[in-house]
């Protein structure tokens, strides 16, 4: 049994069990972190492929809107359908955009992604039927057919589903990264030319990885919309994508667990800064970012891998 997989599963079970006893605010922070973590999971796949997207808010937002518009357009508010809708919409969109974006690298990939996400922002801000910049409220009324509002533990069930989805995404991505194709991501980052000259298609792999990361972002967005209960176009604004990039760099891309750790640290720091220095939280967040970038160049995860290395020389 793979150690990482064991750790992920133990972690998920621990979260589900302790979620029952945890104070509600901690459950909420954890939920938010898991949603961010799922998005960042997709980002690290891109980072491993050598790409950083400054526009992943596009899929975060699309996923959320796909989930949220099921009710007004189709009268559906089943959580499972919401997640499926998010997967479908993000898959189709990223598959189409992928034909274009897979040709781009470096800052140009980042900037073209940014442009697309800002176009979505503009479109949504213009559509009064969808509440324009105010967005609208989203509720999942049932999950697997169980009415959530009638249950005393409805919120807890949403938490469990969020943990479960994150666990599934995390596990699948870990397995993918270890497969022949997944391994090629790093090869592409190192040397695209060599990959082509060994006979594998760089464009195809980038395309596939792009779609996977988009779906993960969409799932993160859908889960977020369900926990927060509200969506608006800001999810597609460049600052949202910027946050994802920050969590990604902060986490480090060497493990699939890192994004969740990074997201948890990020949400806690931000929450802390908001509460304890409401006037200067930006300053506090900025300084923290610099400290992490300077002292942990490989991301937070390097703290753990260092300890691991020391432990087993």
């Amino acid at each position: 049994m793979d150690r990482t997989l064991a750790f992920i599963s133990i972690g998920a079970v621990t979260l589900i069990l302790s979620g029952y006893a945890m104070p509600q605010w901690a459950v909420f922070l954890t939920t938010v972190s898991l949603c961010y973590g799922t998005v960042v999971l997709g980002m690290i796949l891109l980072v491993r492929t050598g790409l950083v997207s400054f526009g992943h808010g596009l899929y975060f937002c699309l996923g959320a809107y796909a989930a949220g518009t099921l009710k007004p357009f189709f009268g559906l508010s089943e959580l499972v359908f919401m997640l499926i809708a998010a997967i479908l919409v993000t898959t189709i969109t990223s598959f189409a955009l992928g034909f274009l974006l897979r040709k781009y690298r470096d800052i140009f990939f980042a900037m073209l992604s940014l442009a697309f996400s800002m176009i979505l922002y503009g479109l949504l801000s213009k559509s009064t039927e969808l509440g324009s910049t105010d967005g609208f409220n989203v509720t999942a009324e049932t999950a697997f057919g169980i009415a959530l509002s009638e249950l005393e533990y409805g919120r807890y069930l949403i938490f469990v589903i969020t943990v479960g989805t994150s666990w599934l995404c995390c596990t699948l991505l870990h397995l993918y990264l270890l497969s022949n194709k997944g391994k090629l991501a790093e090869a592409i980052r190192d040397n695209e030319l060599r990959v082509e000259y060994l006979g594998a298609s760089v464009n195809n792999i980038i395309h596939i990885n792009y779609v996977i990361s988009a779906v993960l972002a969409g799932l993160g967005g859908a889960l977020m919309s369900i926990s927060i209960g509200h969506i608006d176009p800001e999810m597609s604004y460049w600052t949202t994508s910027g946050e994802f990039v920050f969590i990604t760099i902060m986490s480090g891309s060497s493990s699939v667990i890192a994004p969740f750790l990074g997201a948890a640290v990020f949400t806690s720091i931000r929450s802390f800064a908001y509460e304890y220095s409401p006037d200067t939280w930006q300053l506090l967040l900025g300084v923290t970012m610099l400290v992490i970038i300077v002292f942990l160049p490989e991301g937070l995860w390097s703290l753990f891998s260092k300890i691991k290395k020391k432990g087993s020389p």
Binding site: L112, A115, I119, G122, V245, I293, V294
Partner: protein, 298 residues
Amino acid sequence: MISFLAILIDGLIYSSWLFIIAAGLTLIYGVMKILNIAHGSLYALGAYTAASLSGLWLSMGFAPIGSFVIMLLSAILVGIILGPIIERGLLRFMYGRDEIVLVLVTYALFLILEDVIKLIWGVNPYYLYQPYALLGSFEILGLTYPNYNFLLLGSAVFTGLSLTWFLQKTQQGKILIAVIHDSEIAAAQGINVEKFYLITFTLGATLAALGGVLTAPMISVQPGIGAETIVLAFAVVVVGGLGSLPGAALAALVIGLVRAGTVHIIPELDLFSVYLVMATVLIFRPKGLFSSQEERKI
């Protein structure tokens, strides 16, 4: 006819403003490979400094025309003080890191400076509207424009020309181009690359501040003015081809005219016209308008 002319004039004015800000950004990227988000804060700092200092000048009853000198001095002041502080104090420890990490470093800096501005100037707006009307106005086909807009246009042209002159005709400029081309080779040839980083960043910061200074008379200077500006400047720089000065000029022109056109003809599209231009250009010219496609040597 009127609206065609209006689109042209409005577009040109807007382009001038875009270019002044984008010129510094593209220069910094060209030399240092840093996409500087804190450029937006330097822009805001320029506006605040000009509003405070020129406001002081005016309130002391000196000749109003002198406020233009004060404005120029404000830009230089911000550039000369903050440029070196940021470059020597922070950025130089980051050289060699990934481009994306550098973007994040400047993002962190942007957050910090936003609050620093708030701590220094508070949240109440500052005004410097006097210079805007000081130069009189001209009328064309029934449309009035303050002559101040000429100052904006003139500054943009002057900035563009003097930078081009500096890069192409002076010894220092030529070395700078060498650094832009390949900083490693330049360093190997004994060029003090670090010195040029410092010069470039200071120059870029001054240009950012100049953009803010020139905008101050047209707006109310208050928190948040840097954030919107920086994304626009990004779009210009990317559309033009990162690091290319003529590219930035052309991109500013295109974006300026397109925006003016949409406002006049289809105002609904205003919100994302800039990004549509950006996406369209990148789709057809993946590295922007002005950039040589380099074959990789194998």
